[in-house]
């Protein structure tokens, strides 16, 4: 296809999407002249100098006086819209070529692509870094939210965590907050395509003004940075959903909807059953007493599953491997089979762990898959817990063909696409006592991107107020919990009060399962009072759950969050200290109103 050179006055080229107008002035430099919302005419650029790109060679920034625009491309009349500037610099005998393109594939998704090539003088490469002044200006906009941040009063603060290889966008909004633009450094190949990853990590930090992206250029034009913009006239919540849907569109999530393993989605409370303690072992009778565990679990609302643990910290005392160690339990495998039967009669599923660190030199993963198959046949266990792992070995995949209801759950939340597709449940493990870890109540972005993936939150060493925070964090994110009281011989029980709260949480998770695990849930929606953060759970029905957390040390009275103005709204607080929740009109809108205690999470059910 032939590119058409645009004949323009004043050397300005522009592209309009449904919501935004981009305008580049290339008379003296490549300046992003306008980036504004077409409806409100709100310009997101507050400075005049918005260079798209500056190139720095060793310690010298190439002056715009060396810039030469080679070609201007305008393809804005087609369905696939784009504009592009081809440019070059001849700088100290090094010849740079580049292209900046703005591409609109969908009406609310726009890519800005920077490509560069170089012919080095004498073929010796020089250190090359890129600076994006327009992005620094956007980053300094008062309504700029770094990824996973919320506005709290006049400041933005990070109130989320994500530890998987998808990167939620930064968001910039206009003054009335109805127009929002998400900025993502899209990276389909995490860890390989490091320029974008570097940009993402940089924009998370406070000193983005000083960030320079180092690149290795070759003779042909190749991508260096790709910015993906998401636009919405319905505010920042929709940006999350646009990004989420775009991200998920690459995934094959069929394994989450296998008809025979739906039980895992209701595995809210799982018990870590450490064999070497009175929680399960009766030292007088020298028997495992599973009935005691089941009885004790009722205080938590009942366990949905157990993970039986006796290999660590025993493996390595001698050459016994992880499978043979079961032979030395009372009655060998029969004791496991009996326990599993009792669990099943009580509606409890049973996991055993796999220790990848105990795979011996004469063992393959196929050997372990065969051992597992034998074990399932002998004992009827329901799942395999992948200790220290966040991935599912290929050898184990075939197990599910023979045992369709069998489940694999990993200790770490899966991070990469293939693993997220294969591993259909995991722990959400946080905490490191060695670093004085404090359990934070914050949004777990993974949980909102993949609501079909059940998570059980755990922070094994946390005690006291941190244990309270674990429960709050689970409630805030609508996730299950791991009840782990015997941490390899260190007894760290939950208090009576904590057990009662977990019991309440399990009741809520079960009763409102379809809403809490709904596909339309949104993390960190806007709140109306400083000091509050809120997750909204929704499955596109006439019901919603709002999880609201007061992260301050003072009680907060006032409006919490806006809700849709409809008649006959029924509201009910279903979790947390009574906050006297009511509906109040605020100007034209309705809002949830009440008093939330310091450091408390409340869950409010709304039915329209």
């Amino acid at each position: 296809m032939m590119h058409k050179n645009k004949k323009v006055k004043n050397k300005i080229i522009s592209l309009s999407s449904r919501d935004l107008l981009f305008s580049i002035d290339y008379e003296k430099k490549m300046n992003l002249d306008k980036l504004f919302d077409l409806n409100s005419k709100y310009n997101f650029l507050k400075n005049k100098n918005n260079d798209l790109l500056k190139i720095k060679i060793e310690n010298e920034i190439i002056s715009n006086s060396f810039l030469r625009i080679e070609n201007v491309i305008d393809q804005t009349k087609n369905k696939f819209k784009f504009i592009a500037l081809d440019f070059s610099y001849l700088f100290k005998k090094d010849v740079f070529k580049g292209r900046v393109s703005i591409i609109q594939k969908k009406e609310n998704i726009i890519d800005i692509i920077f490509q560069l090539a170089v012919k080095w003088n004498n073929e010796i490469p020089k250190k090359t870094t890129l600076i994006f002044p327009f992005l620094r200006n956007l980053n300094n906009h008062k309504n700029f939210l770094k990824p996973g941040h919320v506005i709290n009063g006049k400041k933005s603060i990070k109130k989320s965590v994500w530890n998987f290889h998808e990167y939620p966008p930064a968001i910039i909004t206009n003054n009335s907050k109805n127009v929002a633009v998400g900025i993502e450094f899209f990276d389909q190949f995490p860890w390989q395509s490091n320029y974008n990853l570097g940009m993402h990590e940089a924009i998370l930090k406070d000193d983005f003004d000083h960030y320079e992206s180092e690149v290795q250029l070759n003779r042909e034009l190749s991508d260096v940075i790709t910015m993906r913009l998401y636009t919405s006239s319905k505010g920042k919540n929709e940006i999350f959903h646009l990004w989420k849907e775009n991200t998920r569109s690459r995934y094959d999530l069929r394994k989450y909807f296998r008809p025979k393993n739906t039980w895992i989605k209701k595995n809210y409370i799982t018990h870590f059953t450490f064999a070497y303690g009175k929680e399960i072992f009766d030292y007088k009778k020298t028997k495992l007493n599973i009935k005691k565990i089941i009885k004790d679990g009722k205080e938590f609302g009942g366990y949905d599953s157990l993970i039986f643990w006796h290999q660590y910290p025993r493996l390595g005392l001698d050459n016994t491997n992880q499978w043979d160690l079961y032979k030395y339990l009372p009655e060998e495998l029969k004791s496991i089979k009996k326990i599993v039967e009792i669990c099943h009669r009580n509606g409890i599923k049973f996991f055993i762990p796999f220790k990848p660190w105990d795979v011996r030199s004469n063992e393959s993963l196929d050997y372990h898959a065969k051992s597992l198959e034998h074990f399932i046949t002998k004992t009827n266990i329901d799942g395999f817990f992948l200790d220290t792992m966040s991935s599912l070995p290929e050898s184990f995949l075939k197990i599910q063909k023979k045992f369709p209801s069998f489940e694999f759950a990993s200790e770490g939340t899966p991070k990469e696409q293939r693993q997220i597709e294969q591993l259909t449940s995991s722990w959400d493990q946080i905490g490191d006592i060695r670093r004085n870890y404090k359990v934070e109540v914050e949004a777990n972005m993974f949980r909102f991107v993949f609501p079909e993936h059940p998570l059980n939150l755990v922070s094994r060493w946390s005690v006291g107020s941190d244990k309270d925070s674990i429960i709050k964090r689970a409630a805030f994110n609508g996730t299950g919990l791991v009840i782990w009281q015997d941490v390899f011989g260190c007894w760290l029980p939950f208090s009576k009060k904590q057990k009662k709260v977990i019991n309440q949480l399990k009741y809520v998770l079960k009763k409102f399962h379809n809403i809490i695990f709904g596909s339309n849930s949104t993390p960190l929606i806007d709140t109306l009072s400083a000091g509050l953060i809120c997750n909204e759970f929704s499955n596109n029905s006439n019901q919603k759950i709002f999880a609201i957390y007061n992260f301050t040390k003072k009680n907060i009275s006032g409006p919490f969050v806006k809700i849709e103005s409809k008649i006959n709204i029924k509201i009910q607080q279903v979790f947390g200290t009574n906050s006297s929740i009511q509906l109040k009109k605020i100007k034209k809108d309705q809002a949830l109103y009440g008093t939330i205690k310091a450091d408390d999470v409340v869950l409010v059910h709304i039915k329209y």
């Binding site: 303690g277 005392l317 032979k327 260190c490 007894w491």
Partner: protein
């Protein structure tokens, strides 16, 4: 100070500063790990760990059969290995043998004194680790007298490496029961999550969390006896 009769070594009573290293956090044990003064009474100690032959003699004489035989002598002791340390015995089995020979298992403190002596040696043979004077990572058990150069200050052999050794205490922290093992063994697993293997220093004990007798026996776990004098 010491005399040897029938492979038993006399240890003079002594005050001793006990300080023992142990795993913290995962594997911590709720005991006083010193430093503290302890008093070691006059006692005799076996020069070697109890051998297969000695233990088989015990069974032959007493007809000993453990109530729970899981993994009991699962290493199949035979004539060829008469002089190897007996393993696959629980702490209870070891105590029954010790009673039969008129002795007992050493306390954790006694074991350390027998190994480290009044000069607080790091290893039975001195302060520098030497894998050639003990069975460290050799891949299999060796006879109890195979490493004479590894003898401790009082002449006891095979203290570090070859087999872990039971001590006498059974501890109950309210939620768990455990015992303390000493000396390390020949077996040295690969990963840091495994029980730390190989020969271990004199001032190290490992907390073995007790369960049923099948789980309390291991192919690297034996014992030696002491005798009150």
């Amino acid at each position: 100070m010491k005399s040897i009769q029938n492979n038993k070594i006399f240890i003079d009573s002594s005050e001793y500063i006990y300080r023992v290293a142990h795993l913290t956090l995962e594997g911590t044990c709720s005991l006083d790990h010193g430093p503290k003064n302890v008093f070691i009474k006059n006692l005799y100690v076996d020069k070697y760990p109890v051998t297969n032959q000695q233990f088989l003699n015990f069974i032959k004489s007493t007809g000993y059969k453990p109530a729970d035989p899981q993994r009991f002598l699962a290493h199949n002791p035979n004539k060829i290995k008469n002089n190897y340390p007996v393993v696959c015995v629980s702490q209870y089995d070891a105590m029954q043998y010790a009673k039969w020979v008129g002795g007992r298992l050493p306390t954790d403190e006694e074991w350390q004194y027998i190994a480290a002596g009044p000069n607080y040696l790091e290893w039975p043979w001195g302060d520098i680790f030497d894998p050639l004077v003990c069975n460290h990572d050799h891949g299999a058990l060796t006879p109890v007298n195979a490493h004479k150069k590894g003898a401790s200050w009082c002449g006891c052999e095979d203290l570090s490496g070859n087999t872990w050794e039971w001590t006498s205490g059974v501890y109950d922290d309210g939620e768990h029961k455990f015992a303390l093992l000493r000396g390390g063994s020949f077996f040295y697993a690969q990963d840091h999550w495994h029980v730390g293997g190989g020969a271990r220093k004199n001032n190290y004990h490992w907390k073995l969390q007790l369960l049923n007798e099948g789980m309390n026996r291991a192919s690297t776990l034996g014992f030696r006896c002491v005798y009150d004098a």
